[in-house]
């Protein structure tokens, strides 16, 4: 029996995983500088130790793999495994400052928070958030910002020279739109779009922050942190009360604008920025988002109105619609307490939130969930099937959908979209069942499972340091596999089992 895995595969994977790890060590320099600026010396030491460990690990991996670099080209299996393995490796390394700070009660809690940041989920187990250092807050938001754009995308644009192999890693991270023929160029455009919006968003929130009474420095950093979270559809905030801390309608409006725009496809941004403005109304994803956001908002307004929770229109808009849109774009900013969902919104309100969280934002964006593209494709596929049934048997009609360009809606596209949706549903159902097994009410378990599966970050109160370890591990897995959209994680599992099989075969031969 011949095994699929060879030593050269391990070496090539090791080299690129090491390169991405080195990139992360370089990234830790940013909070290190912030720690110096704010004279936060304990945090400075924490990051210095973390940089040292990351450099060591990265260097060892690169030295081990470097021999194979010129001999072997990156294949699909390598690209997918590098992407999925890098995320696990980085989760553990980026969790070191969390654990050293003492704000995470265990390494598992630290890994949970890092995975929540990377996957732009936003649920957290961190303790005493209101008193953590500025440098550490910067690190949390950098993780969510980088995670949204894609850590591998960042590494590709800076570190990786092999552009053919780079595309395979890029796809492995759940992004498959090529904005320009060169994948490194695509990665750079994604970063240019994000950095321009970072400047615009930070200035908007900075001014807004000063107008609501924050000091200029606090307003600047809070503005930048909130923008990073909003754009990445992350949901982290520098204070434990999340958006409630600011108690400002204008702050909420600015954040809602950026998290909705952040949930758009990078291909859509690029098309609109190149001058094709009609793309925003022609694209199947924006159409799908417009319809589902309107429908779910109407349903939430109907139930909250029936329950008489928020009596004035602005109160309803700020709580009902804001939280619904935050869930739909998989952001996770909240301006009601977690228990309010459980105690005030009723089972129907929770159900609508679960549906919105599972649908999610756009493909090739910072958002999670099924993605509007797949919902649109499957819905259009169903409509077309009905049309086919009703039309003449001799008539052959070609159906199309518009997503950056006109594409023929064939069975293969519908099938691949449906498979991913089914995978998400399985992940969500298992998460719900596990929550129910640990004794949480079914509706609460479903809410939390949808939140982690769709990388949303809203919580109904289950996510806490005291939650069962099994649930923490499953939520980490759900965030991870939901973000990478299954393919590369399946490749990693196949790779590991291939490796195990190889070891077994070797032992039998001895």
């Amino acid at each position: 029996m011949k095994s699929r895995i060879q030593l050269k595969d391990l070496r090539i994977i090791s080299y690129y995983t090491g390169a991405i790890t080195m990139g992360t060590a370089a990234l830790m320099v940013i909070p290190l500088i912030v720690a110096i600026l704010f004279a936060e010396w304990t945090t400075f030491i924490d990051f210095l130790i973390s940089i040292g460990i990351s450099l060591d690990v990265g260097l060892i991996l690169m030295i081990y793999g470097r021999k194979e670099l010129k001999k072997t080209r990156v294949q699909w299996k390598h690209g997918l495994v590098i992407s999925s393995l890098s995320w696990i490796m980085l989760m553990m390394l980026c969790a070191i400052p969390y654990r050293l700070s003492g704000n995470s009660l265990s390494m598992l809690d630290a890994c949970f928070d890092v995975m929540s940041g990377f996957t732009t989920t936003g649920v957290l187990l961190l303790q005493d958030l209101d008193h953590i250092s500025m440098a550490f807050n910067m690190w949390r938001h950098i993780l969510t910002f980088i995670g949204g754009q894609g850590m591998v995308v960042l590494a590709l644009s800076l570190l990786v020279k092999d552009t053919v192999g780079a595309y395979k890693m890029y796809v492995g991270e759940g992004k498959d739109v090529e904005l320009v023929p060169n994948v490194k160029g695509t990665a750079k455009i994604i970063w240019i779009i994000s950095m321009i919006y970072l400047a615009v968003g930070t200035i908007a929130l900075w001014i807004n922050g000063m107008l609501i009474g924050l000091s200029p420095i606090t307003a600047f950093f809070h503005g930048m942190f909130i923008f990073m979270s909003a754009w990445s559809t992350g949901g982290f905030a520098p204070m434990s009360q999340n958006m409630m801390y600011y108690h400002s309608f204008s702050y909420e409006i600015v954040s809602v604008i950026f998290f909705i725009i952040g949930s758009f496809n990078f291909g859509l941004h690029y098309s609109v920025w190149k001058g094709d403005k009609k793309e925003i109304i022609k694209n199947i994803e924006t159409k799908s988002f417009f319809i589902t956001a309107t429908l779910t908002s109407v349903l939430v307004i109907l139930i909250l109105d029936k329950l008489n929770i928020y009596t004035d229109a602005m109160g309803m808009f700020r709580r009902g619609v804001y939280n619904l849109l935050s869930a739909h774009t998989t952001t996770g900013f909240g301006n009601v307490y977690a228990r309010q969902f459980a105690l005030e919104w009723g089972d129907f309100g929770i159900l609508i939130m679960v549906i919105a969280m599972l649908i999610g934002g756009s493909a090739c964006s910072t958002a999670g969930g099924f993605k509007g593209l797949r919902v649109g494709v499957v819905f259009k596929g169903i409509i077309n099937e009905i049309k086919k049934l009703l039309s003449s048997e001799r008539r052959v009609t070609v159906y199309k959908f518009h997503h950056l360009k006109d594409t023929i809606l064939d069975d293969a596209i519908i099938k691949s979209s449906a498979i991913i949706i089914i995978c998400y549903m399985v992940l969500f159902t298992v998460g719900t069942a596990l929550g129910a097994y640990y004794g949480y009410p079914l509706s609460h378990s479903a809410f939390e499972a949808a939140s982690v599966t769709g990388n949303v970050g809203l919580s109904i109160g289950i996510t806490a340091p005291t939650m069962p370890v099994g649930l923490k591990i499953y939520y980490i897995f759900a965030m991870y596999i939901g973000r990478l959209e299954f393919l590369s994680v399946f490749a990693l599992i196949g790779f590991i089992f291939g490796g195990i099989k190889k070891v077994c075969v070797g032992l039998v031969r001895r």
Binding site: I281, S297, F317
Partner: protein, 34 residues
């Protein structure tokens, strides 16, 4: 490649889309709540 004036108009178009959506939702909400 990207040009400065197109980037600015692109950002305005995207913000405009969100503005239209929010206005519609607020209108629907006011109608429902009467």
């Amino acid at each position: 490649m990207l040009k400065k004036n197109r980037i600015v108009s692109g950002i305005l178009v995207e913000c405009g889309f969100v503005f239209v959506l929010m206005s519609l939702l607020l209108l629907i909400e006011v109608i429902i709540m009467r």
